[in-house]
């Protein structure tokens, strides 16, 4: 599904190398987790894959189902099936959540040469999916993320994911700022989307999210590289011993 080879990235504004050769392959239907200390490059990886400005790729490649992601505009990557759940979802006053969702869904359908959904069809689907995530009609009507609590914002991210039905989902610290109940709700939303044709990359600091979204593979990232890869037990090791042991081991 996603194949990253030797990816090297630096910040455009300053001469600072963030990613120093990331290799990562995620097969279809699998859930991979990336853990790592602050500043290891986890969020940068998610931004570079989704096409945010401000980063310069200095080497390597990233393909989604054989297509070169790095050559596409952010919206083309989305239409190709990539989705990033933001760590800090952006507030957009004056644009209704529903309008935003419908614009996004139809823009992607159009880009893929599919018919746009009618207002009625769209409403039916969105109501159904919103219900599962305990998103009420009021939240759908309100401007995008404006006045939403931390938990509501993250649930709204998962609703977008559910509506857009991407192939490759990246969750950037989706657990940050969530209490235990909110985290469970979000994890249930994600788990409901797990399928053979859909892969996940879950970026997190903590093991606890991985109790709810069970990964197939866990990677440890440090200093711009993936330094260790293992099964779910690797996340437990981090939880118990911190990163220091692993980092000294691979140093």
């Amino acid at each position: 599904m996603l194949e990253i080879k030797g990816l090297e990235v630096k910040l455009e504004d300053e001469d600072k190398q963030i990613l120093k050769g990331v290799d990562l392959t995620i097969e279809a239907g699998k859930v991979h987790a990336i853990m790592g200390p602050n500043g290891s490059g986890k969020s940068t990886l998610s931004y570079v894959l989704s096409g945010k400005d401000g980063y310069e790729v200095t080497g390597g490649s990233a393909d989604l189902e054989g297509e070169d992601l790095l050559d596409m505009e952010p919206e083309e990557r989305a239409a190709a099936g990539l989705f990033l759940a933001f760590q800090y979802p952006v507030e957009i006053p004056g644009v209704g959540n529903m309008t935003f969702l419908r614009t996004a869904v139809n823009a992607q359908r159009k880009a893929r040469g599919e018919d746009e959904l009618s207002a009625g069809e769209f409403l039916k689907v969105v109501r159904e999916k919103a219900k599962d995530l305990k998103i009420d009609a009021d939240m759908l009507k309100r401007p995008v993320n404006v006045g939403f609590s931390g938990g509501e914002k993250k649930r709204n991210e998962i609703l977008q994911m559910a509506m857009l039905e991407p192939k490759m989902c990246i969750l950037d610290e989706t657990d940050s700022g969530l209490d235990v109940d909110a985290m469970k709700l979000v994890a249930e939303g994600v788990n409901a989307l797990r399928s053979e044709g859909r892969s996940f990359l879950v970026i997190t600091h903590y093991q606890r999210l991985l109790d709810h979204i069970k990964p197939d593979v866990v990677h440890i990232m440090a200093n711009g590289r993936i330094v260790k890869t293992g099964g779910p037990e690797l996340a437990l090791e981090v939880e118990n011993n911190g990163y220091a042991d692993i980092l000294s081991e691979v140093a």
Partner: protein, 422 residues
Amino acid sequence: MALAELKLAATQSRLNSMVMPDGLNIQRADALDRVVTMGLSDRRDEYWKYTNPSSLTQPEPVPAALFHNDEGPLFTDVDRVKIVFVDGVFDPDASDDLSCEGVEIARLSDVTDGWASELYGTLEVNGQTPVARPLAALNTAFATDGVAIRVTGKAAKPINLIYLHKDVVSDAILHHVIRVDEGAEMTLLETGPAAARFNKVLEVDIADNGKFHHVAAQGRDHERRAVTHCFARIAKESVFKSFTLTVNGVLTRNECILDIVGDDAVAHVAGACVGDGRDFHHDDTVFITHDGLNGESRQVFKKVLRNGATGVFQGKILVKEGAQKTDGYQISQSLLLDGDSQFLAKPELEIYADDVACSHGSTSGAIDEDALFYLQSRGVPANIATDLLTLSFLAEALSEIDNDDLAEELRDRLESWLSRRS
């Protein structure tokens, strides 16, 4: 020639080309005296520092190409009384019967005496101090027509003044007077470009506990020019709310002069403007005077500017001595879609009472990169994302319109205009 002589010569040259209509002769003669005394505005006037008035004051209007409107008129779903002016000339065939429960409507050209003749020019005169507004006095002297509306109860329908532009060199001068009686209420809609050059004055006198709602859309003709003045006297516990949408037009100067003269009165004025190109110049000039207790005023102006367009905002709140507990709010913001466009803002507060809350703010900014990326990451192409964020920017001004249906219709129009461009 000295500057004063230059101004006098320019004023005479303009006046020479004009013919004073018959009727309201005393008011017109007085107004003409004011014009001659003040002299017409020119670039050297402090009040016209950011906007060049020469095309508004020169003898002949600059021709303005007609605009083919392919989307039908606004507010067709609103049950309203239509009053149509074509290039400033009343069109009885296109207009509805001028009767409506709660209001008495007459044409200005039929006014000979009574409340309308007493009001005509009165608020304009009051609005000449402390700042001279010669183009408004010129209007009072030479207005060819307009409407006189007496609101005696709750108006059964909105009154829609529809201004059509069909002559490339038309030069329209219209003057409307509105008197809202005690406890009465009306909504005035104004739509369309009116003429190649349009000079409009609206005088609104609101008695105690009266309500006046105003929504205007100035039409999309690219080359039209307009100077408008709205003078309002707002009495005890009464409400004045005005919103203007401006899209296109090479030159627009909208002046709003509001006098809160009674206690517990409310005055809101708002505007949204979308301008494209080096030729686009849009100026909102507002002067709100608080002379009552517990007065509330709001000014909310948003401008979207691109390709070298210019936006101007001059907004003043004057709180007179004794106007305690005044709550004045003013915000003017521009969204600059490129580095060539500019926004010039002059917010002013002048306060002589010691127990008031007045705030003002002005910002200029570009499209928020984070929001743009957020939308793009959901698959929304950059141009559509920019339109959405532009609407998002204008939303605060549109939300100043009390009537949700009217606001929604203007929002939908804006959305389709923006998407058509991109």
